[in-house]
Symmetry: D2
Subunit: 297 residues, 4 copies
């Protein structure tokens, strides 16, 4: 089994083996909107979850084609669509309190998506309290960068839980870099899911879970594939070269702790972190893209 965080790839792996398009208990559809393609996958039963290796819930995959080709107006269109998709998963009441958390290590470029996205998210909780006449229409947003276990001594999930117990938010949005099995997907899709996130799961480094079950409120996971692990890459390459199927585990320790990224990953993550940040702001407040630009800078 190749390491992946993407529902889309779990579906592909099923299709590569299976006779059917989708496992029983799983439904899917694809549509075009705002210069993007959106694939929806719904895992509706335990059997479906087992077949796909993904928990029950909804998975939305956004392919922002025009944005990736840097077409004019495409950033704005993709950000608005992302905001709508996110809003559809959150279903928040007015005046809601939301905790937005960025996971990952800012010093490791492909792992920096979470913290870098946070730079574009408006923290409004203190403003709504202090200036209700000006900010009364805003939702109360708290922004948290969790850091990583090696630097903090504390799991990301543990820190988020501690803050959630204090703030009692109506929902949590967790942003993290994901692992993919295909180089061609890096920084090219956005995954949204109401099943939350298992930090580090894609990289084989399972930590505790961020989910509705764990936190007691809806948790939306928002992620982008930024990395392929080296053994997965090699297995993928061999298949592509027609050398038969090899399992990533067969390589043993070789390549462990190694990751494959595009040379221009830094710039790609900057662009997509901005897209995610805008999408989050647009989902949480009644703002236009121009408003967000004026507020976030």
């Amino acid at each position: 089994m190749k390491r992946t965080d993407l529902a889309l790839e779990a579906r592909e792996l099923w299709q590569e083996k299976g006779p059917s398009e989708l496992p029983p208990g799983v439904t899917g559809e694809t549509r075009e909107a705002s210069g993007c393609t959106v694939e929806t996958l719904r895992v509706r039963s335990r059997a479906g979850a087992e077949a796909l290796g993904k928990p029950e819930g909804t998975y939305l995959t956004l392919f922002p084609e025009k944005f990736l080709r840097r077409e004019e107006g495409a950033f704005e269109a993709a950000a608005v669509l992302l905001g709508q998709l996110l809003r559809s998963l959150l279903d928040l009441p007015e005046g809601a309190c939301v905790l937005v958390a960025g996971l990952g290590n800012e010093a490791i470029t492909p792992d920096s998506l979470g913290p870098r996205t946070m730079r574009h998210v408006l923290a409004t909780r203190h403003l709504v309290s202090a200036l209700p006449e000006t900010f009364g229409a805003f939702r109360k947003v708290t922004v948290l960068e969790t850091g990583v276990l090696g630097n903090t001594g504390m799991e990301s999930a543990e820190l988020i839980k501690a803050v959630a117990e204090k703030l009692k938010p109506d929902a949590v949005i967790a942003v993290d870099a994901l692992a993919s099995r295909r180089l061609g997907r890096i920084c090219r899709t956005v995954q949204l899911t109401d099943t939350g996130i298992t930090p580090g799961s894609g990289g084989g480094n399972t930590r505790s879970e961020l989910s509705r079950a764990a936190l007691g409120v809806p948790v939306v996971g928002l992620g982008v594939p930024t990395v392929v692990d080296a053994a997965t890459l090699a297995a993928d390459l061999m298949e592509t070269a027609g050398l038969g199927e090899i399992r990533a585990e067969d390589f043993g320790e070789y390549g462990e702790g190694m990751m494959v990224t595009p040379r221009e990953i830094d710039g790609q993550i900057s662009l997509i972190a901005r897209l995610l940040g805008y999408g989050i702001n647009l989902a949480l407040h009644d703002l236009s893209v121009a408003d967000v630009t004026a507020l976030v800078g």
Copy 2:
């Protein structure tokens, strides 16, 4: 009244006005050690606290003269001394759990002392749990960068409280940049106090308090003056120029939100953040300076 976070300067201001060396209920002493001068000030009564404008408790001010002159071996000596002073304020049991928090804004150089110090502090909590045979002799340290209200929507104190309620540490160490009234003190002294920290107090931006009363466990505040506010500077300059005493408040809005720092503040903060980080590690674990270098890198 000039804005200052330094007990040393509160003492100076008293002496400038008062007939006596120290207010009643306050005792002080100065000694030399390890190429440094250490001034101890003990505020022992409510009257003393009011006279000095500082809460009851112990204030240690370290002047690391040799380190500032970059003499050979002076970094090591100052770090060891800082570790001892910190240890004397903490009085921790073996196996203690400690939360170390860095306050301030990494993007504003003179406010970046807290987060930059955290880079040098060993997070050990997860290691002690996972590898007790190797790390059993270490204290359990969690490292937290609090960010700032404007970016997070959450007071530093609130975040620290949330984490402390979850982790139940035996003590908290909070590191923050301080305001001074004298340019000549910037990055030249280290203040340690068992009275904790009121984030932003020196800059006139009072937020909620980090203290034993607030957190239920001992809180040591560790800080370095990195900034003089513009009105305080001007008042100080006028006095120096013999133009009589002027109060910083008299300048009204002029200079508000302005800060004065040395041109080379970035390099100075790098050096002193490393000193604080080493001091913290040496206070919390039975390590040599060379051990810390090997572990922190």
Copy 3:
């Protein structure tokens, strides 16, 4: 005499003393355009230059009021206007080769304007050569960050001269942070001048000159006030407080090497560096703001 790099302040200082609006040999005018105010000062004679303490040439000061209030569309309008002003000073032939240099120290926030602006300037020289069919309509732009003497051992002007001798550009644009005598001007105006730049002149640290005389081609200096030196601030404050005129030099060494900046300088420089970068791209190529966004990201 107070330290300033701004022609506008040289003009003010004249007016504070003198009976006339402007010295003989100096003409000026002010106009509104694109949500900005533009002040033009022309120093047309040696006498005028001496009276003003500024070399003969044209000085344009842009006050981007709407941009500073973050009004919608104001960034685009100000960038286009800046591009036009810059183009008027450069008067470049088609196919011209331009060297754009960012001066200053990236590690010192208020001195980082030059290098940060460079991040937004398109380097096209290699593209025009390699892909003439695609980039033939572009001017050939080389982008250089000069670093600072203390880190490189080489004056900025010396490095620029070395590169100019090799590349033989048709013009040089040099971007640098400037010193002002008023806190209220920091990051609020843009100065353009065909007299070039004397790096570090505002801060009292005169190095060699970047001018048409020195380089043999037109040199446009582009700068923004980011800093007030501490003694200048104090002199300014005293005047404001009605304590009579004091000269910055009277403070002697006190405050030397100190600078005064707004607390939020980091964010302000990010915004204005982007404005300068866009202005430069729009001056040098026939592009729209949206084109620049697509190319620079």
Copy 4:
């Protein structure tokens, strides 16, 4: 042929195919010193150069084993040894002028070795001129970060040549990240060679050459492998897995522009950049490691 910048790997590739230890015209030896292993390879004839695919000259490969295990005192010992090796290749007269250049892109972690090393190199040229009584015993060092073609529009070699024509140094030291064919070598060896550097050669992106022939003075290339390109990795993995020899080129465009690095590359590069910087300072001046620490900070 696999992409590699390492003479050591060129030697390995020869040995994998050839019957002899080394090609004719190439001599080699290995020795232990200061907790390190040093492999010397001398390419003494044109035939040797062709057989090995490396220009005639001396190649020293340093394996700083104890430093990599972070043993106490190992940094100091390795830095001193590196200084001696560098000195042996440079053979500089007293009072010599040296240009030290860091190549690569600071924003791409594995390509940031050059610029990061420069932070640790003392620029002394301006000090020797300004304060000959204090700095008279120092060599005159200029430090240059070249940036990369995509950002500057100018080849690194072209910029270095422009500066060298101006400064007329007695020697050039060029620091760059190298490509390796083995994951296990990343950040684990230092290569020094008097044949200079062809920037980007390892990554398949050949630019113009930095050599004695091109610059007219001795050019020492100093580099560390920081990256394996994805196709080379896959070819290497297949061999390891016993699937026969495959050429990296066979993968075509798959993996192009992709690079493989360890997850903790950022920290590894920090450590080794400091080692290189210290080695350069120790080679160029008569200083102790403690002196360098005091001067560089």
